[in-house]
């Protein structure tokens, strides 16, 4: 068994080509986010002082954003399982719910950004005296928000194509991988940028 697992062949990983490519993309994207978050950590450690996020951000709003993203990840997981079982209607319903979750998340992020900007935060400066604070916030949450936006568009196109019978269940699974990744990255952003 072990020899066959490691012996190469046509499909040594036993996953289809598009899924393997999506995983490779996600691994490299993880390293991009790891670089951003490491940069943030190193900058914060080297400065020795940092504004108290609990006094600036609304922790309940961000907690609710996290709740929405977790729910949307769960609905996407159900959609993937339904696709594999051939329950077409359930796939459509749960992917739309996922899209709705993504849109809700983006709306709340837009509200949070607006509030932060109105308080005087800019990319290269802010009233709390540490320019890196708002710079890292805008860059990291902005980069993640761009991923969420891309994910919503991706899911929107995927569900339309699924409705028209143009794609296979594997495509739903691959779209699901991307969406779960968005949730996965937020786990660390939530902890490092808002809670710690």
């Amino acid at each position: 068994m072990l020899a066959s697992d490691w012996g190469g062949g046509h499909s040594p990983f036993a996953v289809n080509w598009p899924k393997l490519m999506m995983w490779l993309f996600l691994v490299q994207d993880t390293l991009t986010f790891a670089g951003l978050l490491t940069g943030y950590g190193v900058m914060r450690l080297s400065l020795g002082r940092w504004p108290v996020q609990g006094e600036i951000f609304n922790i309940w709003l961000v907690g609710f954003m996290t709740f929405i993203l977790i729910c949307s990840s769960a609905t996407m997981a159900v959609a993937v399982a339904a696709a594999r079982r051939g329950v077409r209607e359930l796939v459509v319903r749960f992917v739309w719910l996922t899209v709705l979750g993504g849109l809700m998340f983006l709306s709340m992020q837009a509200y949070e950004w607006t509030h932060f900007i109105r308080e005087g935060a800019r990319l290269f400066g802010n009233p709390w005296g540490i320019p890196q604070f708002s710079a890292t916030f805008f860059i990291i949450t902005g980069f993640h928000g761009a991923h969420v936006t891309a994910g919503v568009i991706y899911l929107f196109i995927t569900v339309l194509r699924w409705t028209r019978g143009r794609i296979q269940p594997e495509s739903i699974e691959i779209a699901g991988l991307y969406w779960h990744f968005v949730d996965l990255v937020w786990v660390f952003i939530f902890t490092l940028l808002y809670l710690l």
């Binding site: 995983w23 390293l31 490491t38 950590g41 450690l45 769960a74 399982a81 699901g176 710690l196």
Partner: protein
């Protein structure tokens, strides 16, 4: 990967439940204002637990072949190496200030 390995939809509800529980635990822990080092250790540990749940069950990595799991997870250690390679420099800069 087959359906029985997934145990129906129940596994997703369970994963969702535990993700919410851990998130509430994180927020609750922040609100009691523990010392910074303890806060960092606990929050990072809880985040890693959440990440493991998402990768294993939502992304189905638990049900893939072992060689594929190694191929996906091993590059992530580069991120850990990156962090621990740069932290001494950051602390050095802090002490020079």
């Amino acid at each position: 990967m087959n359906e029985t390995e997934h145990g129906g939809y129940r596994i997703y509800v369970l994963t969702w439940f535990w993700l919410l529980m851990i998130t509430m635990l994180e927020v609750g822990f922040v609100l009691v204002h523990p010392i910074k080092v303890l806060l960092a250790v606990v929050l990072v540990t809880l985040s890693l637990m959440k990440a493991t749940l998402i990768i294993a069950f939502f992304m189905h990595l638990k049900y893939e072949r072992l060689n594929f799991i190694y191929a996906v997870v091993s590059p992530l250690f580069l991120g850990v190496i990156l962090f621990f390679a740069l932290v001494p420099d950051a602390l050095n800069v802090l002490h020079l200030r």
